[in-house]
Symmetry: C2
Subunit: 252 residues, 2 copies
């Protein structure tokens, strides 16, 4: 059919590795950052998992996710200490050997002063066989990519730098465009209209997000689509419905 769209869909999962997130001691900052970053690139983040520093749990999650999505990104567990078990777990997931990688050793040798490349620091050069290194412009110790899995550090500044290094290598899909409409209404007052608009606008996804501020409820309505014309049409209908509903009875 003429004018039929051919959207390219690229999907991703994010695996956050670390006891400290699950205990609540560290508040994750990477999920929101990666989500926005991938959305901007045209990659759909389709699932996130957080697992503890336990080999079997990492192996299981990596294998489940890499079979299902175009890309997997991981954060955490690639430092020099005994609790950094991500690289070994990834090697186990792919069933490949792991050892000090000469390219990674060279990077660390160039970075640390003579005599300071300790056994612990050398641990950061352990890379599964067949992996490519991911540059770390912040603190040098590299991440790595093996298959469709990208292994990054958990420290936000380092993860973000590694993501910048990875981005040019990723295939990207048709971006999901979005338009947000703020409604000074509780979502229950606009719900019936939104359902109708959603039914009348295939090819769009209309989300309704309630907010509460000191007991006062308002709503952000987000229209998303890979097609700009469809997006515009649905967003206009939502804006009109919000304006009409508000005129009928403003939020007290």
């Amino acid at each position: 059919m003429t004018g039929e769209r051919q959207d390219t869909i690229v999907t991703a999962a994010f695996l956050v590795i670390g006891d400290e997130i699950l205990s609540g001691r560290t508040k994750d900052k990477n999920i929101g950052y990666l989500a926005e970053y991938l959305t901007a690139l045209g990659i759909d983040l389709a699932e996130v998992r957080v697992v503890p520093d336990v080999t079997e749990r990492i192996v299981e999650a990596v294998n489940a996710l890499r079979a299902r999505y175009t890309y997997v990104f991981t954060s955490g567990g690639i430092g020099p200490t005994h609790d950094d078990i991500t690289a070994d777990s990834i090697a186990a997931a792919f069933d490949v050997p792991i050892d000090h990688d000469p390219r990674a050793v060279a990077i660390l040798k160039a970075f640390y002063p003579e005599g300071q490349l300790t056994q612990a620091r050398l641990r950061m050069a352990r890379i599964p066989q067949g992996a490519e290194l991911i540059e770390n412009t912040v603190s040098k110790a590299p991440g790595f990519r093996i298959g469709n899995v990208h292994v990054m550090a958990g420290v936000p500044a380092i993860m973000q730098a590694m993501l910048d290094a990875i981005a040019p290598t990723l295939k990207t899909g048709t971006r999901i465009l979005s338009r947000a409409i703020d409604a000074d209404l509780p979502e229950s007052r606009i719900a019936d209209r939104l359902r109708t608009i959603q039914d009348e606008n295939p090819g769009t996804m209309i989300g309704s997000y309630p907010r509460s501020n000191d007991g006062r409820f308002s709503t952000q309505i987000v229209v998303r689509s890979r097609d700009e014309a469809l997006l515009e049409r649905a967003a206009s209908a939502v804006s009109e419905a919000v304006a009409e509903t508000t005129r009928q009875a403003p939020n007290p």
Copy 2:
């Protein structure tokens, strides 16, 4: 054996439901809150997943998690709009019917002024058969518990209120105690000592968390144990190791 500890382990998973978290438009605030809350209660948060507003994905995740952990908590998708599909998805996961629940209808009737309990608002009274209601002191529309799954709202203030309503009903385990030691050192300088201390202190978990602040690296070391005496011993060893290493060569 006399003096043998009998720890009670209670586990939980958290399922965050919502396209808006995966697109990055909304930054999750519930994971960190729930993690800290459960840790304080003596419940080990063992896994988190974030999935989109897609029935099959919610069903699959709920069924995987409820089979594996003592408790499952969910957030998001129980409002009045067309994209709120959590209650129906949970009913599908448990293979039970779902309809307007008289108890929930009564709560909404008492809350909304005469004539304002619209079809959309009534949708919030859809509860799977056999579930118990979870009180919502903020905006009335209840959550629910079915089996070991607790279904809560996504708006943080409401989720937090529901959690307070749930807490007294939960069985709790032996709390994991923790002690944090701040080291003004990059973690690679303390890594060898930490590994030895971990080896010498079974019954404790020693985590090392690097931080970077404008390119300056420091480390927080967290010792955890369900046994206070073991915790104290390991934490003292870590403090001593940090002090000695810092004396040898302070962080430049």
